[in-house]
Symmetry: D3
Subunit: 251 residues, 6 copies
Amino acid sequence: MPLSAMMKPSPKSRLEPVPLLAFGAHPDDIEFGCGGVIAKETRSGRAAHFVICSRGEAASQGTPKQRVAEAKKSAAFLGATVEFVELDGDAHLEVRTVHAIKLAGIIRRVRPGAVLAPSLVENQHPDHSKLGHLVRDACRLARYGGIKELRRAPGHAIEQLFYYAVTSEAEPANITPVLIDVSTPNVLKAWTSAMEAHASQISARNYVELQLTRARLRGLRAGSSHAIALFPNDPLVLDLLATVSRGARRF
Amino acid sequence: MPLSAMMKPSPKSRLEPVPLLAFGAHPDDIEFGCGGVIAKETRSGRAAHFVICSRGEAASQGTPKQRVAEAKKSAAFLGATVEFVELDGDAHLEVRTVHAIKLAGIIRRVRPGAVLAPSLVENQHPDHSKLGHLVRDACRLARYGGIKELRRAPGHAIEQLFYYAVTSEAEPANITPVLIDVSTPNVLKAWTSAMEAHASQISARNYVELQLTRARLRGLRAGSSHAIALFPNDPLVLDLLATVSRGARRF
Amino acid sequence: MPLSAMMKPSPKSRLEPVPLLAFGAHPDDIEFGCGGVIAKETRSGRAAHFVICSRGEAASQGTPKQRVAEAKKSAAFLGATVEFVELDGDAHLEVRTVHAIKLAGIIRRVRPGAVLAPSLVENQHPDHSKLGHLVRDACRLARYGGIKELRRAPGHAIEQLFYYAVTSEAEPANITPVLIDVSTPNVLKAWTSAMEAHASQISARNYVELQLTRARLRGLRAGSSHAIALFPNDPLVLDLLATVSRGARRF
Amino acid sequence: MPLSAMMKPSPKSRLEPVPLLAFGAHPDDIEFGCGGVIAKETRSGRAAHFVICSRGEAASQGTPKQRVAEAKKSAAFLGATVEFVELDGDAHLEVRTVHAIKLAGIIRRVRPGAVLAPSLVENQHPDHSKLGHLVRDACRLARYGGIKELRRAPGHAIEQLFYYAVTSEAEPANITPVLIDVSTPNVLKAWTSAMEAHASQISARNYVELQLTRARLRGLRAGSSHAIALFPNDPLVLDLLATVSRGARRF
Amino acid sequence: MPLSAMMKPSPKSRLEPVPLLAFGAHPDDIEFGCGGVIAKETRSGRAAHFVICSRGEAASQGTPKQRVAEAKKSAAFLGATVEFVELDGDAHLEVRTVHAIKLAGIIRRVRPGAVLAPSLVENQHPDHSKLGHLVRDACRLARYGGIKELRRAPGHAIEQLFYYAVTSEAEPANITPVLIDVSTPNVLKAWTSAMEAHASQISARNYVELQLTRARLRGLRAGSSHAIALFPNDPLVLDLLATVSRGARRF
Amino acid sequence: MPLSAMMKPSPKSRLEPVPLLAFGAHPDDIEFGCGGVIAKETRSGRAAHFVICSRGEAASQGTPKQRVAEAKKSAAFLGATVEFVELDGDAHLEVRTVHAIKLAGIIRRVRPGAVLAPSLVENQHPDHSKLGHLVRDACRLARYGGIKELRRAPGHAIEQLFYYAVTSEAEPANITPVLIDVSTPNVLKAWTSAMEAHASQISARNYVELQLTRARLRGLRAGSSHAIALFPNDPLVLDLLATVSRGARRF
């Protein structure tokens, strides 16, 4: 799906959902943190776009060139488009207003419904929580009318910001998660392929097993095979309780 | 809708939602705490049943007989059926297993999807949080196969338990709420009528204003006229993010 | 009341309270967040001074010139003096030591007793929590003797720092608030006029209603008509319990 | 001061404060937990009454008879009257409605302004937190009009419920404390004498040193010699900020 | 190892550790919650004793007789002795002082160093958290000298109380866990056998997989194959940091 | 002990522990916050090294030259080596990636086991929590292979990061501490001497008494004379529970 198509949502039609926009600090964060959710959404007909804020140049393994290639291959498995944006570089990210405004500009261009960002929990790779802060602020700035740097595109209010957690330790303790059921075999397969596409990263550590184990544990709770937790930044607004008729109450 | 109809849910059909079951410690708690949600759900075709665990005999105003009459009138405004159950009496409730099992028996009889109960926050009328604890445990016991006292009816697993808060102070700080939009004029009207039906209670205090003010404040946040917060006991399980495409992000 | 009078507090006399100093990120934040408290304090004879850290130039409505004029008119309704200070500009504020020192310099000049600042809760306009952090640090730096940039004025230790919350979502969950009773008719009237003075801001949104609704809800709890919550940064020190002989226990 | 005098408060007069009522699970809990506050209040002219809910019969040292004698001697040092009430016995206390109603009856008789109770933190002597729960509920029940067992005396709404902590571990982490300055030499002396009056208890452990050390640490924070933390059950309601013009900001 | 041997610890010798005492509400709780820890400890030469507080008579599968037989077989795999104690029966447990005293009597008899109990988190099987509360209180009561019912045996102060969590949802969020490395193959094998010994319970649900998945996820964090989290009731006291020279910092 | 010795740890030998590395924002922070722990560790044969990130030039008392001299004298009492590093200057510290990388370089050079840093609690001197953040991030960056600025030294993974709290208010409420017993007379004496070596700081305030009072209060809890609390950044990983056989359960 070309990006141009994605940029013209028709919000009047409820049947065609507005795109999903996911931010990652490094080339593999989105896939490891919530790749199954992306696969589930794109397979239901929703467009997804990735914005990756470094080329992984500070990692112990993999060159930036390799990392970019892996990210593109991985996004393809998930049915997502991908772009790279330069902020301060891998392991050097800082929370600066100029970055938040840059990301807000992307939000105005893509005009997403849901936005995904790494969680704000600080005891993880420093780039993760810093990017989470930047995206949260960017979602607000995208809405405000008077910011000069953003005047090229009209303001845009997203529907909801969800945080993903790259590891168990990055799961925020103060937000009740929603669990997304990712048990469909082709979804699980696409997610696994997407993670394995980051070949330079998975040789040394058990990243793929870690994520599938986490999802299996959530799935056992949710009464399905595998599930992924997302953490909403703001309360969900519902019309009817029937919309959320499943709860995680298996044990 | 007669209660008999409500007790024969056809869970195979997703189109006919299983009933809603709400528990209240006193004759007016459900209405003041989440009456708008009840009105919204019944107007969408869902059955609702109230279980009231005292006759309000310890209140400063109103006789038990008046309170029961008011509760029946109020439930009618909300389209709900109502029954009374004897536990320890108003202002005398204790957390006893025998009570939890009695409520579990009702759950097995009504076989609801969603269950509503007063929140577990302790700094409110002591009966409220105690009933919340009893209902939470009852939802588990209703599922277990070997409890002798419950053998008359087959086990039943509810979909989700939501807590309502009779006052702002009773809102749990550690659960991210979902906001139910109750802005439809006939929903608001039914809710107001249901609260005003408790004539013995609203003479001395500003209970109706309190609840409409709370809902207005939530509505301003949710981008609608009025909304009511419910607090899920367990994470929601979703198939797609599009199910929850509204977030409370207006200010 | 001229500012010069305010800068010569006579701390020896308990009868003439030292001034109140309130910081706002935008021209209307103080008024919407805690204007009723300001009106109550100035009507009791206490001086109040506002420091506004942008001209609202990133807002969707209103020019900087309009915003400044509105702020001056609004402060007059509340009996407060007002000054503007340049930091990074609206929607561009960052937490920099140079800003904290600049604000500490103002604290040394005004020599306030109580200081008011926006809350530290991060899920609001980014400028709000960033200014809250800066003011908290500024209150400490104002006290330290060796900071070169501040040597023009002697060190000053404030009595207490209170946070105000511009919206319900900005109320810190981890601090027990104090509720200030703002029910006096002339206080409520001055507060409402001060909010309405921000004419460019209140046309599009229900800001005034939002704040009066919040205060009404607090008032119902406090047993009065309207009340505003402030959140102390440090525990209050009391000589006798009789000083705080009212508690919010109405429901 | 005779108890009879204490039971006739004249609430119309602000100058004569309504009495202070303190509950303790064992004969020495009030003294060790907040004896300095009691001494401060009675020396300012306020009446104080102690309700002790066991005779310490499960302690490792001291007979019930000794414990009662020590408690009376200790209360005299603090200027307080004292009564004993039978609930389930030392180390056997349970949270029963019948107990809460019995304590509510005492509240209706004494008609206090402030009430003091052990904190709700559970990781301490089990009787402490259970009594805290009973007192909190009793304060509510004392207000309700329709409780048959309480009809002998008219309903009474207290002003505020404060929790005291017998040890550092019993201090609630989720309530911002108020610090009461107990630095006056005669207050400190009376408190020390009151603790030492529990001769059977202080032989084996460093209880007196523990409490003076805690108060010294709080005093260093509060900018005084010694201070004791109390934890309000509900937000304080203030007329003016000047009422609370000291904050604990020394380090 | 006979129980009689276990009851005569020689606390003077640091080389022979005092026994481990684990409490379970149902015949399989200890094994599923922390069986790997038990296997690790007994294989290092420490005695372990299980106290099981029901015969699982309310479960959906398995008769009480089967459950007892399975528990004995399972304990043998773990090298632990086992006894059953009658409280209120499966799914009927209540927090009563008489139960806490009964458990305190067992503590005085066994005289353990470490005690293991189900966590206090309430949103799980109601018996679990209730037993956790009872054990916590029992550990205190075992120490007090004056409790008549306990006079047969001298008081005993345990070293530390640790909570185990039967499911992920039962892990307390407010306690920093310690992770016990259970990667040794014979430890993992003994634990798996012990869980599989509960044949009546594991047919219908994925209990064994759930626990091994949880331990694998912890192991990935701890830099080992498998680990189990325990949650100390009180801070650990150390002589030197070298004692705790491993931290869970792998991702 | 020369620094060169410290930089060649022999990790294979468990008997010779790897060095302890402590970071302080000002010349006296380490001593006041956890000096007793340092004395205990060095007296057991472990090397300790201090990195001090300013010369205290913003303090009310003492010149930078005096402060450096005092720090050296103080470190000698504790058996630690000391170095000074320039970041932004006293009272001017900011959280910048360049600082975290500089500290990561020191970690790679010293190659410590345990690292000590000021706590992350924000309501203290702003430099303290900022340095805590920088050290936490530095511990991660020291491990990553691809950071260009750090390529001179091989990556190093520390064992554990512990936070110390310079005042009671700086103790993190969300981490269960470990208590280090510092009761040995020569440890207490060395610690006191080290604090008193900061002669310019202790003249005006009761810093030494504050710290000894805090340690005495912890000691009373831990069943010893004095103890100091440290707060681990990550869960401890243990082989056996016997390693941590003391718990703080005295009251």
